[in-house]
């Protein structure tokens, strides 16, 4: 009797094990499915619409066919340049503090915690805050304030880059082996010098790709630009004027009634996604090589 019960129980256990294995494989397939669907759909819709005019012309008036998104590409470039100029130095500085000078201190822990929390703040809230800070105040003496501008869009995205860059820089610096630091310090090099020219330099490929990842993330952000950069149907290169950006234009075109605008929206999305896939792949490649050539 007891033998039968135990063989029944053991069969049940094997069955449960098999069922769970099957379920987790099913879950994996269900997760991969939308990704594949999105990519196939994007390439199918976008590739047909991608041509030279897409990169060289500005949008035609509504209802006319043809045209491109040259102004959006230039605008995105300008906004992202401003964002990088603000976000990358500050983020790297913060990351160096976390990993080197402040390691283990209460301040560093508090900064790390706040950076992680800030990373999860919705991007639309960033847009609102920068609107309130830069666009809303009228008649101030500061430049770029009081109206929608490329500058305010860049500031919004730059602020979003800081916590990301900060945390990836820290992670990359922590991968540098202690032996490298000790070798520098053993030669009598002061600490600040060792950090800047040995540790940071050793980790620099990782830091650069981390910055690229942050760059790719904000390149696709739409919500913070809605009330800062605003959008502009014409070519503009002024930091002081409203400016178009690729994700903004995709949003406007996708919601419009015209088939030709939908076509441009798909092509724009394809350009964005290619940029992002390249950045993610590069980051993964560098991270998997353990960052460093000189370390291993």
């Amino acid at each position: 009797m007891s033998v039968e019960t135990s063989s029944f129980r053991s069969r049940m256990r094997t069955l449960t094990d098999g069922a769970v294995t099957a379920l987790s494989i099913l879950a994996t397939l269900l997760v991969v499915a939308p990704l594949v669907a999105i990519f196939v759909y994007l390439v199918y819709k976008g590739a047909r619409s991608l041509n030279l005019a897409f990169f060289t012309q500005i949008p035609k008036p509504e209802g006319e066919s043809g045209g491109g998104m040259a102004n959006s590409i230039v605008g995105s470039g300008i906004i992202l340049a401003v964002a990088s100029a603000l976000g990358i130095p500050v983020g790297i500085g913060g990351g160096i503090f976390l990993a080197e000078f402040g390691r283990g201190t209460k301040l560093a822990n508090a900064v790390r915690f706040t950076a992680d929390v800030l990373n999860g703040v919705p991007s639309i809230v960033m847009g609102l805050a920068v609107y309130a800070l830069m666009v809303f105040p009228k008649g101030t003496i500061f430049p770029f304030m009081g109206h929608f501008s490329a500058m305010s869009g860049g500031v919004a995205l730059g602020i979003m880059m800081i916590p990301t860059v900060c945390r990836t820089t820290e992670e990359m610096l922590l991968m540098v082996p202690h032996a490298v630091r000790e070798a520098a310090l053993g030669l009598g090099v002061p600490n600040w010098r060792s950090v800047l020219s040995i540790t940071v330099k050793t980790a620099s490929p990782g830091i650069i790709t981390g910055c690229m990842l942050a760059f790719a993330r904000v390149a696709g952000e739409t919500a913070p630009l809605l009330f800062t950069a605003l959008g502009n149907p014409y070519m503009s290169t002024s930091l002081n004027q409203p400016i178009e950006a690729l994700p903004l234009q995709i949003y406007v075109f996708a919601n419009g009634p015209y088939e030709d605008q939908h076509r441009l929206a798909w092509a724009g999305s394809l350009v964005l996604i290619v940029l992002i896939v390249l950045a993610v792949a590069l980051v993964r490649y560098v991270a998997s090589r353990g960052v460093l050539k000189g370390a291993s």
């Binding site: 494989i25 879950a27 997760v31 999105i38 790297i92 080197e100 915690f113 919500a223 993610v280």
Partner: protein, 305 residues
């Protein structure tokens, strides 16, 4: 360097200060009732929540829409992402692990606007033609699925696309937490004659559960604030419906839709107050999640995600 690090605190303080400052107008007029009051339409005697022309504002339908779509997203995403994490850490053959992890990372990096575009043109027609009628027929008796919406937009569509978007975050953190469980735990359970599932249940999931809860809460934080994809598929009507297939709206969606076209200072102020509420809630949710994840992964070496 210290200045750069301190700038993080400055940013949080600046956001909070600006949002509080610019939402004073609504706060003085409505106080806390802004989040739960209901008005009545004088003509139809139906409940009404959002009337910018007569300056009557209530955030109730937006809070409701955000909560409904986010919890729906969690309901779909949590089992899937834990299944994925279990597969990747415990079962997956080595040659598949790298590509699959890369694919989920890509899923996390796709911009919200592209999810929105795909959801609007591919997912919503699919739901409208095949999924929603089925849900209404078989689950209609619960009252949550009434197929009275011919567009296919609504809470359900928003929940599905949100689930796809938060999946990679939950599953990558769950994986990290599961990797932090020492191998000796697994070996000990296996040595007692456990099957693989029993080993995962007793040796891994039980030890990692706090961190997994943290990962789920972090996913919730992302879902609450997601803007563009939700805006494109939730339908954007400031009403409250019991049926998940009805049009609704969310906190982030109303800000994205109305802010640049706000008709008065009170309207702008009301939208900023919704933004402030979103900010405070996501800060609290993220802080809780971060503490839970740290409780488990603390002591294991940092790894690039």
């Amino acid at each position: 360097m210290v200045l750069c690090a301190l700038s993080i605190f400055v940013i949080v303080a600046l956001i909070l200060w600006q949002l509080v400052l610019r939402s004073q107008l609504t706060w003085e007029r409505f106080g806390l009732a802004f989040f739960y009051q209901t008005f009545t339409n004088p003509d139809s005697h139906q409940p009404m929540y959002w009337d910018p022309v007569n300056e009557r504002f209530s955030a109730l339908p937006f809070v409701y829409g955000t909560l409904v779509s986010s919890f729906l997203a969690l309901l779909i995403a949590v089992p899937l992402s834990i299944g994925l994490a279990v597969f990747l850490t415990e079962m997956c053959p080595g040659f598949l692990r790298g590509p699959l992890a890369f694919l989920t990372e890509l899923l996390a990096a796709i911009p919200s606007i592209i999810y929105g575009l795909w959801a609007f043109y591919a997912l919503v027609p699919l739901l409208r033609d095949y999924v929603n009628p089925g849900l209404a027929r078989y689950l209609g008796w619960t009252g949550f699925f009434e197929n009275d919406n011919p567009t296919g937009l609504g809470y359900f569509a928003a929940g599905v696309i949100l689930a796809v978007m938060i999946l990679p975050i939950i599953s990558s953190l769950t994986r990290e937490v599961m990797n932090a469980v020492p191998h000796s735990q697994r070996e000990a359970v296996l040595a007692l004659g456990a099957t693989r599932w029993e080993m995962i249940r007793m040796g891994v999931l039980r030890n990692a559960r706090i961190g997994i809860v943290g990962a789920v809460i972090l996913g919730l934080g992302r879902a609450l604030g997601e803007t563009m994809a939700v805006t494109m598929v939730i339908g954007n009507t400031p009403e409250i419906h019991r049926s998940l297939l009805s049009n609704g709206t969310s906190m982030a969606a109303v800000i994205a839709n109305e802010f640049t076209e706000a008709v008065s200072n009170m309207h702008t102020s009301a939208l900023i107050e919704i933004g402030l509420a979103l900010f405070v809630v996501t800060i609290i949710v993220n802080a809780i999640a971060q503490l839970l994840v740290w409780a488990v992964t603390r002591g294991t070496p940092a790894q690039a995600r």
